[in-house]
Symmetry: C2
Subunit: 610 residues, 2 copies
């Protein structure tokens, strides 16, 4: 078996000859960015072959890499195979999720109401005149004779009782004792809230005795290797049990790494974490739980379940107290998942009396409308454009990404994350760029770039050189190659504008359908909430300029942070809030846009820039 | 590592040099009879060294084996060690449990009332206008939205539904779906009832749709290698987790072998067996469940639990449907276990209005008295004498065991199981032999043999040669060496009589205490029930002669077969009966004989023969 060494990470692995290089890196535990699941279409999984023959450049590589890059050994890892001992350079990945974790705040003013109760007891000693068995002695003392207990906890209980002078602490949830511990450990009561995103997995460790977030950790969802979008992952999972398990293992391994990180940060013992609550879209929920998601993909888009799944930790192998419980909050529909449930409880939309919409744009876009006492939700096929997929030089919101573009004093000004030389453009940069170029008069209402050759008078002289023609039509140079990190021009292409129009048009049209169904217009909205990292970093003015949002005064548009993740934490910390979340599938009306005969007209109209 | 070959079983195994030969045989899956857990005191674990040096004969071997036997290579396996490649002859073991299985009848006239329900359904197909998720579609149809389901069952459910035209069958118990199966499988509903004896493990496969026993299988309890009695096993288990697990693994492995046997006999599929109900003494219950039994041994004899333990199959690894359930019926006290609960429900003592006692003699002796509306139970330290332990040539009730002895026409007549040459004496033979020799005037009321040297007139001439003196006092030759299988005289020794007196005295005294507590005398008893194999094969007249049973007309003494095992089957087949069993620990008063100041006098008096 040939040996592959990855540098500068210095990870080595033996693989079968013929193994795909992207797969080999994955096996070695390296994350290589990419959106197309190895199809060769996104061009993002770049590596440099330092040593070893991995095959000749393919058509896909010739499309995405320059002759000079190919000469220098650059390749797309999905296009190459390991044939012999090799050394492969993997560019250090920029951690997009670091930015997201900064959004992960605490849960403010929340009353601690944990679903796990810890009770310290001191039992009387048995005697020949009182031969009550140990378990019954405990349950009599607790006055809860109906509690059940797992064998694993009962196994060493007699010795623990006697070694600790009959003083023990029980952790109880529902009608089960999930842990029996020596001495008084009632001050140690922890849980973890997960937000399982298609792109990013985030975990928060909560002290359940006071509803405080005491640590946060995150990682890129390693299912990414099977595609950036949920459809690619469903397609992979539907190939068979083995493939489904591959996807489940990826997310569970990642969750376990996050758990380890959280425990290390806080020195909390694994066995003192009794509960996990998770949110995610319906596909993520299925894959996390290892449930066949096949029938989510084709119409009529049927999930295996919509209720919350509450399972024992041992069913999943999460590395907390093995008798603990994992609750994945309920789905509303195939494309409106528990992440939306999280948004609703975190923003209290289920309890508001005014008219309010929430827009959560992640890898997909979900919309909720509370109006006239009804709660309605739909999902839009916005695709992952706002996360950089399908965008020529799109990237996630990591260091070096163009995150802001403005048109000031007849000039286009560009800002990057951490002020580094630009290496691509992220979602908020994309919207800003389009808005700035609209402001500059360089984009028509149809979304076409103004062509300087056709309408020279419309393009100021100093922009003429920046509007260049390429294979896919015109493109605007945001940062010239001499200033970029890659040495290439960083551009906004005509294709990028089309992707942006499709995405914003879908979201706007979805919102219009919800409003129509509720019998109100956009002017009747008292508030529009923007959830998620994207919603937090997008500039409202730009979003209004491109027509992503309804034409409302900016003060009515409010960024609410990672509301899905907050909902997960709140449902972990408070049983009352959890019960509200569990009841939502019954309360929320789901609108399936694909069945609406009026959707197409509204959508086509919404593609335009104003 | 040296290799050991066992003949004629032809099993080969590699072990570390220095491994005890008894352990090596156990690892090879061979059962070698023995009662003393390798201490060298019972002399029963005989093997012949065909090849290889296993050490010199020890003191223990010289005590139990003749010079000629040692010369021929016979050894006690517990005394030898494997040092080099060896060939060891293991005499074929006689299957004592075969006799017990003949007692395992059906459960007559029982109304099937299974706790697992199977429901076949045909669901409507989903559509864009009806996007109800698969699980909710099923639960809506069942009109039981609160049912939970394991991930393992849900995982492939979407594909199963579509592959079977939306026709599936669910197995439901309590509030859980434990199985979802393709098509209509409602006619396949099975369970297994176990009777986990210290000596013998028996399993019965029941068709739960009609409460019929369709197969029976049994095996010697392989925990035997750690001692024939419960105290030896508790002592081993209390050494640590590893040792506890050794004992648990033994019994679970054996149970799994029985399950395989039952399934093979009937061609029932493993996944169609949904439930196991087990009975056994309190120690067996702890060891089966893997719960530390340490504190059962010393006063005040405290079990870890008394309630029934209901656990998931996956907690134990029993090889039935992995989502199924295992219920070990409740214990009443440290030495009154669920086997006694089984006896009570099978004999309906909890519902009788007359005065009735039940005596269950297995490896221990348990007594139950129903009188004046009260139910009382106690255990007696009868020890395993009736199973041949502590008896010089004692053996279990296997082929060649002396099972009947009578005094007819001035002669002692001896019968063996299967009419084979005698190789030892089993429990019923022991009692018969004592009764016959009492009838012949050869045993005094104190239990001493009449000494021909002291009282020549009391011993008929033709018996004088049969009363011989040995190391431990006088002994009576039941079968001379020329007629026995072993070539040795098969005798009843003075020591054997002492063991018998201790055992029968303990049981009789226990019964007297129960009667005293109830305020009645033995003459007030309407019936005495004899449970267990021993109770079935013992001759009532002999038991009355030696004073094991109260002096009642023989027709009031009724053998009821393996009532403990029957109780297990009935609790499996009927939820009503199960609920009666689960309630018994609250209803049965346990008398701890060791706290009774009156016990010792009654016991000493009961040692006498009448």
């Amino acid at each position: 078996m040939p040996k592959v060494k990855f540098v500068p990470q210095n990870k080595e692995i033996k693989v079968n000859a013929g193994t795909n290089l992207l797969k080999a890196a994955d096996e070695a535990g390296l994350y290589i960015e990419g959106d197309c699941a190895g199809k060769g279409t996104c061009g993002k999984c770049r590596v440099r072959i330092v040593e070893g023959d991995t095959g000749e450049p393919t058509k896909a590589e010739k499309k995405h890499l320059s002759a000079g890059e190919l000469e220098a050994g650059w390749a797309l890892s999905c296009q190459r195979k390991i044939k012999q001992d090799s050394i492969i350079e993997v560019p250090m990945q920029k951690e997009a999720h670091l930015r997201k974790t900064t959004l992960a705040g605490g849960v403010e003013n929340l009353e601690a109401e944990p679903t796990v109760e810890k009770v310290a007891v001191k039992l009387s000693r048995p005697a020949v005149k009182d031969q009550t068995a140990d378990l019954e002695r405990l349950l009599d003392h607790l006055k809860r004779p109906q509690l059940s207990v797992k064998l694993r906890e009962l196994s060493g209980f007699p010795g623990m009782l006697r070694d600790n002078a009959y003083s023990v602490t029980t952790a109880i949830t529902g009608n089960r004792i999930i842990s029996i511990e020596p001495g008084d450990t009632s001050d140690q009561l922890y849980g973890i809230a997960f937000d399982i995103g298609t792109t990013t997995i985030m975990g928060s460790l909560l002290d359940l005795n006071n509803a405080a977030v005491i640590a946060v950790a995150a990682a890129t969802n390693p299912q990414n290797i099977y595609g950036a979008d949920v459809i690619s992952r469903i397609n992979h999972a539907s190939q068979g049990k083995e493939e489904l398990k591959q996807l489940q293992d990826k997310v569970l391994d990642s969750a376990n790494n996050i758990i380890k990180d959280l425990l290390k940060q806080t020195k909390v013992a694994r066995d003192r974490v009794y509960e996990v609550v998770a949110v995610g879209n319906t596909t993520m929920s299925h894959l996390f739980m290892g449930i066949d998601p096949t029938y989510l993909a084709p119409a009529p888009f049927i999930p295996a379940y919509s209720r919350a799944l509450q399972v024992e930790v041992s069913e999943l192998g999460l590395e907390i107290n093995p008798a603990g419980r994992v609750t994945f909050l309920p789905n509303i529909a195939g494309y409106v998942g528990s992440d939306t449930v999280g948004v609703i409880v975190a923003t209290e939309m289920d309890q508001r009396k005014d008219n309010c919409a929430a827009i959560d744009i992640g890898t997909n876009g979900e919309l909720v409308l509370a109006a006239n006492g009804r709660l309605m939700a739909c999902s839009t096929a916005a695709g992952p454009a706002f996360e950089g997929a399908q965008i020529k030089q799109g990237m996630r919101a990591a260091a070096g990404a163009i995150e802001s573009v403005s048109y000031v004093d007849n000039e286009i000004q560009v800002g990057t994350i951490d002020d580094l030389p630009a290496s691509g453009i992220c979602g908020s940069g994309l919207i800003d760029a389009a808005a700035a170029l609209i402001d500059a008069g360089l984009i028509e209402a149809t979304g076409r770039f103004v062509n300087p050759a056709e309408n020279p008078e419309k393009v100021p002289a100093h922009f003429k050189d920046r509007l260049k023609r390429s294979q896919g039509g015109l493109e605007f140079i945001l940062v010239p190659g001499r200033d970029s990190e890659t040495g290439e021009d960083i551009v906004l292409s005509q294709g990028d504008l089309r992707e942006l129009q499709l995405a914003k048009g879908a979201i706007y049209a979805g919102l219009m359908i919800l409003l129509k169904e509720a019998g109100i217009s956009e002017n009747d909205l008292d508030e529009v909430l923007l959830a998620g990292a994207f919603g937090n970093y997008v500039r409202k003015e730009s979003a209004l300029t491109i027509g992503l949002l309804p034409q409302l005064p900016p003060e009515k548009i409010v960024a609410v942070g990672n509301a899905a993740g907050d909902g997960s934490k709140m449902a972990l910390a408070s049983e009352t809030i959890r019960n509200r979340a569990l009841a939502l599938p019954e309360k929320v009306e789901h609108l399936e846009l694909s069945t609406r005969s009026d959707f197409q007209d509204i959508f086509v109209d919404a593609l335009k820039f104003r």
